[in-house]
Symmetry: C2
Subunit: 288 residues, 2 copies
């Protein structure tokens, strides 16, 4: 028996992929009854075998007694929720999500449910799907919530308690600031990284292309990792956050041109100084 009062009794998790499946495992460990809703029978069977939730179904009715429902769905399904799902969400339950773009989701969901709390847990691996769930995925990772003036503060506090019990760091932020921040650290890097892959792929001199392929180092692999990630996710993030991404891209192009200028001017002293500064800035950003 848990001696602290738990914020919820029955927790619904919609979608049992990387995020949903991992939540299912951790929440059961914390003593919750977890009700998993998935699209396909096949996924349900596999999720049952993996023990991702206490009960798992493809029928929305499974959510009926939940006092919290976590929407662990892909971004496009969060932005275009199915009627069956909306009808199945208990009116008194707290509803939260895990979408990586917040302003467009809040715009839709604040009208769909009075107790919706927008969230973005910053945890991920390159894995996806029903096999991807793993324990302690959120431990020590930031969990951003983006309340606004319409947010139900009691619901927010309950979600906060739950998130802290998962070992995550709770952060609140303005939804637009959040979207600009993820544009910089997560969406813009996808484009930057993908354009580098394209640059190598489009090399006209075949000897150079072949040699480049043979000698690629961990540096190239690291810099291009997220540019070689999930294409659908990349496109959906871009489509839902394009203003902030384009804004970041514009600054980025200016920064790149400043580097280019030091090369054209052959100002190696200035280049070394610039690289010394970026080294420091990176350490500062990563240690925050």
């Amino acid at each position: 028996m848990n001696h602290k009062k738990q914020p919820f009794q029955n927790i619904g998790v919609v979608g049992l992929g990387l995020i949903g499946g991992s939540l299912g495992l951790d929440l059961q460990e914390l003593g919750y009854k977890v009700y998993g809703l998935v699209h396909r029978q096949e996924t349900a069977s596999r999720a049952r075998e993996l023990g991702l939730a206490t009960k798992i179904s493809t029928n929305e009715i499974i959510l009926e007694n939940c006092d919290l429902v976590i929407l662990a769905l892909p971004l496009d399904e969060l932005l275009n929720p199915k009627k069956e799902l909306l009808n199945a969400l208990p009116k008194k339950a707290v509803i939260t999500d895990v979408g990586s773009v917040k302003a467009p989701i809040l715009k839709i969901w604040s009208n769909l449910h009075p107790r919706f709390i927008g969230c973005h847990p910053m945890a991920g691996t390159s894995q996806a799907g029903v096999e991807a769930g793993k324990k302690n995925l959120f431990k020590g990772r930031p969990w951003v919530s983006t309340p606004d003036s319409k947010t139900d503060l009691e619901a927010l506090e309950l979600v906060r308690k739950l998130v802290l019990s998962l070992g995550s760091k709770w952060i609140t932020a303005d939804a637009t600031n959040h979207d600009e921040a993820v544009a910089l650290i997560s969406h813009l890097p996808v484009l930057i990284s993908a354009a580098l892959i394209e640059t190598v792929g489009e090399e006209k001199n075949n000897n150079v292309y072949e040699l480049a392929s043979k000698i690629t180092s961990s540096g190239f692999a690291d810099t291009t990792r997220i540019g070689g990630g999930n294409p659908k996710l990349g496109a959906t993030m871009a489509s839902t956050n394009s203003k902030a991404i384009l804004q970041g891209l514009s600054i980025y192009k200016q920064c790149l041109e400043k580097f280019e200028k030091t090369l054209i001017k052959e100002d190696w002293f200035a280049l070394e100084e610039k690289l010394r500064r970026t080294k420091k800035v990176r350490s500062k950003i990563l240690s925050s």
Copy 2:
């Protein structure tokens, strides 16, 4: 006793940092006598403690009986070799280097020594200095050699044998092609990565900057890793390979602008297709 005839008897290694120290360890393991030359007494003492070579000195005389000398020096020292070093290199010995840019090195060294073999082992970690040496650093990694019409083919064959005995993959390439390839996969990524760090560092909205710093993910860390690397090395690579880097940067900017256009046009289908292609191209490059 090694039953195969070894290509060399006594091997000099100039510089006992990451590459030189690692070579010293592996070559001793293969049964060679290794003679290490370093700048400072302090480095010599530490290198002796670490067993990086059979004998270690700060005096060039240590190279006198070597039939191979490996110049494991930083790029700027390879391009401006000291007179004392040049005078100490035995005339009949084979001389090779490990510099990451080849055409400028060949231009200088083919006039300095008749048996010079330009090489670039593609191995590295983020470590540097006398503490960085480690065994088997080169195992399974490419080792590029860039012979030209003036190269002593017997010397080339001896170096090839040695390199194969370290477990490396021997690759020969034209020096200019090599420099263009490393511009694409190694030097250009430094600038791309550094410009991303600068973009985040220059964010004007402090709320966005603070949040971005708090929620940085492994994606940002990976994409910016080499932009936060050794500033001096970055500047030296750029200064010795600027033509190829600027050429790559020009293509890169075009690729980035094509991505930007899909965002401006809101053509999410095209973006997803582009990301699908880069994902494939990356796998192809990395599996070569």
